[in-house]
Symmetry: C2
Subunit: 254 residues, 2 copies
């Protein structure tokens, strides 16, 4: 195990702490939360502030995340190859399915949304790019857990929180669902994450035939399902989109 730079690890921990706590945090809170001396925490925060990664409220002296993170995070999206290739196809999927489209990749213990196309009606919707979804209850997450060994390991290790009465948290049952996902090439989320919301997703492969992400649609169960089952034409549309993106990434269809 190679040793990592201590001050950087501490700085990263601070940023994650600031991201977690809803409100701004004071220096003493930060220092005690991480078990550091106040002066140590102060030195790191001062540098982070100078670089734009954290900001300090002039009135209260409290700290919060800084604007430079937004700029760099957006740049990450600009360079993201999977997202760039998926842009065209996801628009078409949203139009043909009439539902919101999500594109996600594995990040830490969940799915990071890297692209989101609004449902094509005039309702007010909030952009969820940059948000995280759990692996065990969402369609995007199940697809990744079924096709990416790293994602699967994360799912096994993670604590699987029940969000609704339908959420499956037992490992045995999840494994059976993942087997099914591998067999049929897509996964579903039937009110397992939000009441009244269902989703379908399919895996995206790169040229080495490794899963690099998943696409899917999410919508009200009344529209997405019929007789308690997902509408077959929506499943087909999602799988077609996933195949098209995979082909764009260089994956050969066997």
């Amino acid at each position: 195990m190679a040793k990592n730079i201590q001050s950087l690890e501490r700085a990263a921990a601070m940023l994650r702490l600031l991201a977690g706590g809803e409100r701004r945090l004071g220096l003493s809170d930060i220092a005690s939360s991480l078990g550091l001396a106040k002066a140590t925490a102060h030195g790191i925060l001062r540098t982070l502030q100078h670089e734009g990664f954290v900001e300090q409220d002039p009135g209260s002296g409290r700290y919060q995340l800084g604007a430079e993170l937004l700029r760099l995070g957006t740049t990450y999206l600009d360079v993201h190859e999977l997202r760039a290739r998926a842009l065209v196809w996801t628009d078409d999927l949203a139009r043909s399915s009439g539902e919101a489209v999500y594109l996600g990749v594995l990040h830490q213990h969940g799915v990071l949304i890297v692209h989101h196309v609004f449902r094509p009606d005039d309702s007010r919707q909030v952009l969820e790019v940059g948000a995280m979804q759990p692996l065990h209850s969402t369609a995007l997450g199940k697809v990744l857990a079924a096709t990416d060994p790293v994602a699967h390991a994360e799912l096994v290790d993670a604590k699987r929180e029940p969000f609704t009465a339908r959420t499956v948290t037992e490992l045995d049952e999840i494994e059976r669902t993942l087997d099914l996902t591998r067999a049929q090439g897509y996964a579903a989320d039937n009110e397992e994450t939000f009441e009244g919301v269902a989703a379908v997703a399919a895996p995206i492969y790169d040229r080495r035939r490794l899963a690099v992400g998943s696409v899917g649609i999410t919508g009200a169960v009344e529209r997405v399902c019929r007789d308690g089952e997902l509408r077959p034409e929506l499943i087909a549309a999602v799988r077609d989109t996933a195949r098209s993106v995979s082909r764009d990434l260089g994956a050969k269809p066997f």
Copy 2:
């Protein structure tokens, strides 16, 4: 001048370098660009990778920005008070004006877009949240430079690039425009940044009556202007929105 943590400054410089270069960068490029020994650069990159701030392409070994930046950058938006307060009003402004709405704050040498409402038609538009705009040529930037002393200083120091034939780069003339902006309470961008694109913006104040950002609309000059001048009803709508948001932030109307 207090001293900052060296390794953190170097790590931040690396992230900015990776954000600037369009493509992935190799270790040797990074080390020589920053004037560091390869081993030093490697130690920092290894830690940044472990924390999710950079990723390494398994094939080429090159480095690029990591997903954690997107997650943290989005969290920054979630906590952003100005943005939260502006959400409702900007939707209304987009609807009443029929144009795209932008909300920006000062960041480093330019305006960072923290919110963007699409023009309410079905045309394909790309979200510009997280992007930067220059201070000297845009409506959002001029408003900030006219109302925020820090932004003004940044404008004076910055190199003012000419984007179109109409871009004003001479300091004297810009200062006169800023005086006018302060006097009338809004600023315009008449094809000074993009050919055929015009914009109006107005300042947003907080409870201490300090400028904290600017809102504005941007659109094709044929729609936004009439007889070479901005349509008065659009100027009024933008100023109303800025006042509403300021009031939400606690600014008293004198």
